[in-house]
């Protein structure tokens, strides 16, 4: 059995920042990553980040993963990394079961930072499981990691930031985007992304949804329909689109299985994307040894995931006696950064959701 001060589950932006903060606080750290490489979904994010310098704003996501990994390599005596290692169970005696090399290994840790991220939601329509219907993140991975186009002509469903960004990346890869549709009456993503897409000639059609995909073995077309103010289909407004890919970008849900298993108190909070754990201001769940960071706390962007990772790494370490030299200032700084990232209209629903799962401090 491997023993460590802090086990971090997930080697994405939140987990890597947590590892860094915990190791610089003096704790021994084990990072577990399911994939064969670190960085999580950063590895496919070719766009430049927003936020402030502390969250690597104006750097492309694909490079941030390397920056974070390099920082961990500077502390080899404190940080161990297991890749291709999947955490499959978190037990009440503080033992984590990890599937690695076709065996189950046990990890005993004093604290856990669960930073497992999120999975893409699906959408209900006729034939919604035909090959050629992909999550927006899947299309991003295929294009930006593997260099393969998803098809020739795409219908993008969802005009949030991911839908807009991935549409632009499709154009960069030489794929035609027939249209971006969204059931809401207005565009959910940032105007700066939407303008870029529209300038490239892609229509963004609001108050519309997809009702049917057709094709024998894979997508050959899609039917879209207009929606009225009650989000009901408008009779006679159906249109056929000649596309071979339907890209679904309707949001993400936290990947919270380990938290359920660990016995954390969970609530369904639509503003945060699904079931999320009750937590305090230091990102500790209702189970004393379990901390959280990133999309598992509620769906946001990689910028806030990195700050939450840093915060959870600091607070989890301090709770077992490894207090960072500048602990108070660092923690305050994280909290201020989160506050500023969640300011403005986009952060409003996040703040509402967070208030519903915040326990008293």
């Amino acid at each position: 059995m491997r023993e460590v001060d802090i086990a971090i589950i997930g080697g994405g932006p939140a987990g890597l920042m947590a590892a860094n903060a915990a190791a610089s606080s003096g704790a021994s750290v084990l990072v577990l990553e399911r994939d064969g490489h670190l960085g999580g979904q950063l590895v496919k994010q070719t766009h430049k980040f927003f936020g402030s310098e502390k969250q690597y704003a104006s750097t492309r996501g694909i490079y941030i993963a390397n920056i974070l990994e390099d920082k961990l390599k500077e502390m080899p005596d404190k940080v161990e990394i297991w890749k291709s290692a999947t955490a499959v169970g978190l037990y009440e005696d503080g033992i984590l079961a990890v599937a690695k090399d076709k065996a189950i290994k046990k990890v005993k840790a004093k604290r856990f930072v669960v930073a497992t991220g999120a999975s893409e939601k699906s959408l209900t329509f006729v034939n919604n499981e035909l090959p050629g219907i992909y999550g927006a993140g899947a299309v991003q991975t295929l294009m930006n990691v593997n260099g393969v186009r998803p098809g020739k002509r795409v219908l993008m469903v969802g005009a949030g930031n991911i839908g807009l960004i991935v549409s632009y990346q499709l154009l960069q890869a030489g794929v035609e985007v027939a249209a971006i549709i969204d059931a809401a009456p207005c565009i959910g993503g940032y105007l700066v992304h939407a303008s870029k897409i529209r300038r490239a000639g892609v229509p963004i059609i609001t108050s519309h949804t997809v009702t049917r995909a057709y094709g024998n073995e894979s997508v050959e077309g899609a039917t879209i329909v207009g929606l009225d103010e009650q989000w009901q289909p408008l009779p006679g407004s159906e249109r056929e689109l000649d596309v071979d890919v339907i890209c679904i970008s309707v949001g993400l849900s936290p990947l919270a299985e380990l938290l359920w298993h660990a016995g954390c108190e969970m609530h369904y909070i639509p503003q945060l994307g699904g079931h999320v754990p009750v937590r305090d201001g230091n990102l500790k769940t209702s189970v004393d040894s379990v901390y959280i960071a990133g999309d598992i706390t509620g769906i946001e962007e990689a910028s806030s995931a990195m700050v939450e990772g840093r915060l959870a790494g600091l607070t989890a370490s301090a709770s077992i006696g490894f207090k960072h030299d500048d602990y108070e200032a660092e923690v305050l700084d994280c909290k201020e950064q989160l506050k500023s990232l969640r300011a403005g209209p986009v952060g409003e629903h996040i703040n509402q959701g967070m208030a519903l799962v915040m326990s008293g401090e």
Binding site: S119, P131, G135, A138, M143, V145, N146, G147, A173, G174
Partner: protein, 102 residues
């Protein structure tokens, strides 16, 4: 051909080809591919059929979450090919049942 040839930000290393078989047919991909990306680049979107309804299945999430892309790889069923690195000579087959425990 679905490979990206020119990209404003990214370059893709295509120096090392990797050949493998898909349902008996030889296909070439590149080092760095997953089995799913190599198949997709070769125009293969259907990776299996549902064990009960027989409807075609392709990948959905491409990061190993959803389990829509299960195939038989070197005789082992239920491999998530969207996260399985492509290696030389691997034998890939479509899967249309639940697979047996080996």
């Amino acid at each position: 051909m679905l490979r990206i040839e020119e990209h404003p930000i990214l370059t893709f290393d295509k120096s090392k080809t990797v050949s493998f078989t898909f349902d008996g047919k030889t296909i070439e991909g590149y080092e760095g591919d997953t089995i799913a990306s190599a198949l997709h680049a070769a125009g293969v979107k259907v990776m299996g059929h549902h064990y009960d309804s027989g409807r075609p299945r392709g990948f959905y999430c491409a990061i190993g979450n959803c389990g829509a892309c299960l195939m038989v790889v070197n005789g082992e069923p239920n491999v998530r090919v969207c996260v399985e690195p492509l290696v030389e000579g691997v034998v890939v087959e479509t899967q249309s049942n639940k697979g047996d425990l080996v």
